[in-house]
């Protein structure tokens, strides 16, 4: 499923030079349409090779999210990757064009990763024309992709970067039980979604359960209108996908047989085996069952999470993460044992029944139990200060005597959401060879007063608070009173 290197979006010289995306993906796909798929993935927005000058940030408190903090320390970025990080001032000799940033009094972290966003698919302003987040014409729409709804001019994108966010997962909404594929994106100003796609990120599928799908379809006077209806529809979708996957397997076997030299003469003149008709939805679910697509399942209540895990067991797939997961604390032992991560808020609660038992200690309790826990925003406002959410969740945990620390809080923002999205081998910590997604903060990033001053995506300053240029979004051009204009794109 690797991208041809000629088609790599934004700033990547070579896929081969990088570590693999994740350790968790299963065997290669048996998808007969892999070639079609690869073609569909080729970039229509090919970006230039990363020619940004090397950047050295030094004399700062460098928090790597690997368990080590260098104070003072440095991080050196070049060619889009981190090439050195550690104690002291950094390498004595540097390329002449290196940009040196004095980080005295400042803090450096990996870029924040938001594993649950609807930026671009529910953009601002909220117009009917851009209401593209939920394909609410059928409760299962596994064949759709958030990428195809994404509006790259959403003004929320640049504001998220100003909050220290460098990578987001854009997901379809939760109106459908199977909402469709999400897309993991690097936040840079581009003309289309494809060029923002995080290279090497696995495919992800948004699923939902509980209140939203049954509310949506009850209003439409059709199924599902109950939780048992939810489960029936999800299970039937996977039953169909099982049949489809078997047909793919049969075809694959027949094709191999036809190609094998021993049998060739016997079958001479016979038509090549015909593959099953392509079905975008079933293809997606078949890939889920093969472990090639990560399941990101919107699920608030403990009992709904248990029901979802039963479905996963029935069809033999792994749930990568429960999103929202406000009652994860009630089943944290189960989630820990089954290696299911959570992506959640710090303290949201009560806006709907399935959020009624949310508590501010949820993240800390899950972390203490060994669950890989990530913060998410699900909001173009909250995405701008996810770092504060980590500070608050840490304070809540500590006040309750739960064993969590600053390192955990940092990982809620970086390394853990990277794992949720299957890109932990590429990003989420400050380590040599990883993407140079780096934030320089004015203050301790867990402080309410902390501002992201410099935000690097692949070693390029995507945001520089001291030199805010023209808005990224074409939509915001000509809006009076915005900061002074500069260049972009």
């Amino acid at each position: 499923m690797a991208l041809p290197s000629a088609c790599l979006p934004y700033g990547h010289q070579s896929e081969a030079a990088r570590p693999t995306a994740t350790s968790a993906l299963a065997a290669p796909s048996m998808d007969p349409f892999a070639a079609v798929e690869a073609k569909a993935r080729s970039s229509v927005d090919d970006a230039a090779v990363n020619q940004a000058p090397p950047v050295l940030v030094r004399h700062a408190t460098v928090m790597t999210a690997t368990g080590r903090t260098f104070a003072p320390g440095f991080v050196l970025m070049s060619g889009g990757t981190i090439v050195a990080v550690g104690d002291g001032d950094g390498p004595a000799t540097l390329p002449a064009n290196t940009v040196v940033v004095d980080g005295r009094g400042k803090f450096v972290t990996p870029g924040i990763i938001d594993p649950h966003s609807h930026i671009g698919v529910y953009p601002v302003p909220e117009t009917l024309a851009h209401d593209d987040g939920n394909e609410m014409t059928d409760p299962t729409t596994a064949g759709v992709r958030a990428e195809h709804s994404f509006w790259p001019e959403d003004p929320a994108i640049e504001r998220a970067v100003a909050g220290g966010v460098t990578t987001i997962a854009v997901l379809p909404g939760s109106g459908n039980l199977i909402g469709g594929r999400g897309i993991v994106m690097h936040l840079t100003p581009q003309r289309g979604a494809r060029a923002m796609r995080f290279p090497g990120a696995p495919e992800i599928l948004k699923m939902a359960c509980g209140e939203n799908p049954k509310r949506v379809y009850k209003e439409q006077k059709r199924a599902p209108t109950t939780r048992m209806g939810n489960l029936r529809i999800v299970r039937e979708a996977f039953v169909k996908a099982q049949k489809y996957a078997r047909e793919q397997d049969d075809w694959s076997r027949r094709q191999q047989t036809a190609a094998s030299p021993g049998k060739k003469d016997d079958k001479a003149g016979a038509d090549p085996p015909k593959p099953p008709d392509r079905d975008l939805a079933l293809e997606t679910l078949a890939l889920v069952m093969r472990g090639d697509i990560l399941v990101e399942w919107h699920c608030y209540q403990a009992d709904d999470m248990i029901a979802a895990l039963q479905v996963a067991d029935e069809f033999g797939f792994q749930v990568r993460a429960f999103h929202h997961a406000l009652e994860a604390y009630k089943v944290r032992d189960l989630l820990s044992r089954r290696r299911v991560a959570i992506a959640t808020w710090d303290d949201w609660w009560g806006f709907k029944m399935e959020a009624y038992d949310g508590i501010p200690e949820n993240l800390a309790l899950a972390t203490e139990a060994g669950v890989r826990a990530a913060l998410h925003s699900d909001s173009p406002i909250a995405i701008q200060f996810l770092n504060q959410a980590a500070g608050k969740a840490l304070a809540a945990g500590r006040a309750a005597g739960i064993k969590v620390d600053e390192e955990d809080a940092l990982r809620w923002l970086t390394a853990n959401p990277a794992w949720v999205l299957g890109i932990d081998g590429l990003v989420g910590t400050l380590e040599v060879g990883k993407h140079a997604d780096v934030v320089v903060w004015s203050d301790d990033p867990l402080s309410i007063y902390s501002r992201a001053e410099l935000v690097y995506v692949d070693g390029r300053a995507a945001f520089d608070r001291a030199h805010v240029g023209a808005p990224w979004s074409d939509f915001e051009l000509g809006v009076r009173g915005m900061p002074p204009k500069g260049g972009k794109k």
Partner: protein, 425 residues
């Protein structure tokens, strides 16, 4: 001032220290704290606050706890603020936003000036103890919609009965002249203004023609009698009219209307207020806003920017920060803290959640720590606006409230797994 050790004492006590009456039931002294005091003074360090009979008895730097104090809290290293006032929330009016029967904040109908939020207020709501954990001690429970949406209540987050909770049942009237309300009502902005002006003019007519109205001797009026009556205190300038407007031109229109009819205007929302900040300041109109609203969510908010609060403050506008949330009323401190991150003065941000809302709505004795003020006082472990700080004590009208909530009970129940389900704990 700070260096001299500012001491403010109740009249007659200054010369002989604090003498307590024999029958004083309860006297609480919070000592050695950093205390936020009104009047533009910097906070006092190593200061003492004395509460008695539901009021602040004294506050001053270096003051000893009065002998016979029933409770002395050594607040060394801690901070004391007035109880926070959320100037727009639906606490007590909503249990679950998406469950309509539990939601008494979203009324059907767009012209309901006689509606009183107090009539739906529930002082036993589970949201109230949760709001208190954020140091919020009193709130404005406000209508959320409507061209003229009705009257907000001002309540203390204390007391088990309505009588104990309600401070001002009809605090202010609420109008909305934003994009959503225009669309939901007449379909256009000018149509919305027609409805609004007609209602106010009919109420003004009614005020001087009550006898004819009762004798069916007037032309038809656009409101029922209850609505006309409800607008009279607004027209007399006794009750503020809170107008939600975002676009700068809508704000200008609201200022013009208030000038013409001599209304006591408070602006709300006001995403583009920074563009007309000088005019708002000149007219001394307070602005109730959320510093986190920096997105162009609607076309009437295209000029939203993250430093709106800071720019208004710098222009001399009375900035009031509110959450506009029921369940997250407890995060009022975070909204204020973000105003500071985005350029507002720190102590001004504290005022924006204490003194400023009280002043904007004319709530004497609220939002300040000074002798005679209502004893709504919060002890914080550190800077009230910082993520790492916790609320340690909440006093409302001089009584300390437990910080136990439904959420702390859930935490306790699930602190260790598995939870026995046989009732043994």
């Amino acid at each position: 001032m700070k260096a001299l050790g500012l001491v403010i004492l109740a009249a007659g006590m200054a010369s002989r220290g604090i003498a307590l009456a024999e029958d004083a039931p309860e006297v609480i002294a919070i000592t050695h704290a950093r205390v936020y005091v009104p009047g533009g003074h910097p906070p006092l360090d190593d200061a003492t606050v004395v509460l008695a009979k539901g009021k602040v008895l004294a506050v001053g730097a270096g003051l000893a706890a009065p002998p016979g104090s029933t409770l002395v809290i050594d607040a060394h290293g801690k901070t004391v603020t007035p109880g926070l006032i959320d100037a727009n929330t639906a606490v007590g009016a909503v249990d679950v936003e998406l469950e309509a029967p539990t939601n008494d904040a979203n009324v059907r109908g767009l012209m309901t000036p006689a509606l009183r939020m107090v009539d739906g207020y529930n002082p036993r709501s589970t949201l109230i103890p949760i709001a208190r954990t954020g140091g919020v001690t009193s709130v404005v429970v406000a209508p959320r919609s409507g061209v003229l949406g009705g009257q907000a209540a001002f309540v203390d987050l204390a007391g088990d009965t309505l009588a104990e909770a309600i401070v001002r049942p009809s605090l202010a009237q609420y109008a909305h002249v934003d994009e959503e309300t225009a669309e939901a009502s007449a379909g256009t902005r000018s149509g919305l203004w027609l409805l609004l002006r007609e209602a106010l003019e009919d109420a003004r007519f009614y005020a001087t023609h009550k006898a004819q109205y009762d004798a069916n001797g007037t032309r038809p009026l656009s409101l029922h009698r209850s609505g006309l009556e409800a607008l009279l205190p607004v027209l007399r300038g006794e009750q503020p009219l809170v107008v939600t407007a975002h676009r700068a031109s809508d704000i200008e229109a609201a200022l013009r209307l208030a000038g013409e009819l001599k209304l006591r205007l408070i602006l709300q929302g006001a995403s583009e207020a920074w563009m007309v900040a000088d005019e708002i300041a000149r007219r001394k109109v307070p602005v109730v806003m959320d510093p986190l609203q920096d997105l162009p969510t609607h076309f009437d908010r295209l000029h939203s920017r993250s430093d709106n609060a800071a720019l208004l403050e710098r222009a001399g506008v009375a900035v009031v920060i509110a959450t506009f949330s029921a369940h997250q009323c407890r995060l009022l401190w975070q909204h204020a803290g973000n105003a500071v991150r985005l350029g507002m003065d720190h102590d001004a941000a504290i005022r924006a959640i204490t003194e400023a809302p009280a002043a904007a709505f004319g709530l004497q004795g609220y939002g300040v720590i000074e002798p005679g003020a209502v004893a709504d006082v919060v002890v914080w472990s550190g800077d009230p606006l910082q993520t790492s700080s916790r609320v340690e004590h909440v006093f409302i009208r001089g009584h300390e409230h437990s910080l136990e909530t439904r959420q702390t009970l859930l935490l306790e129940r699930y602190r260790t797994l598995p939870v026995p389900r046989d009732g043994s704990r």
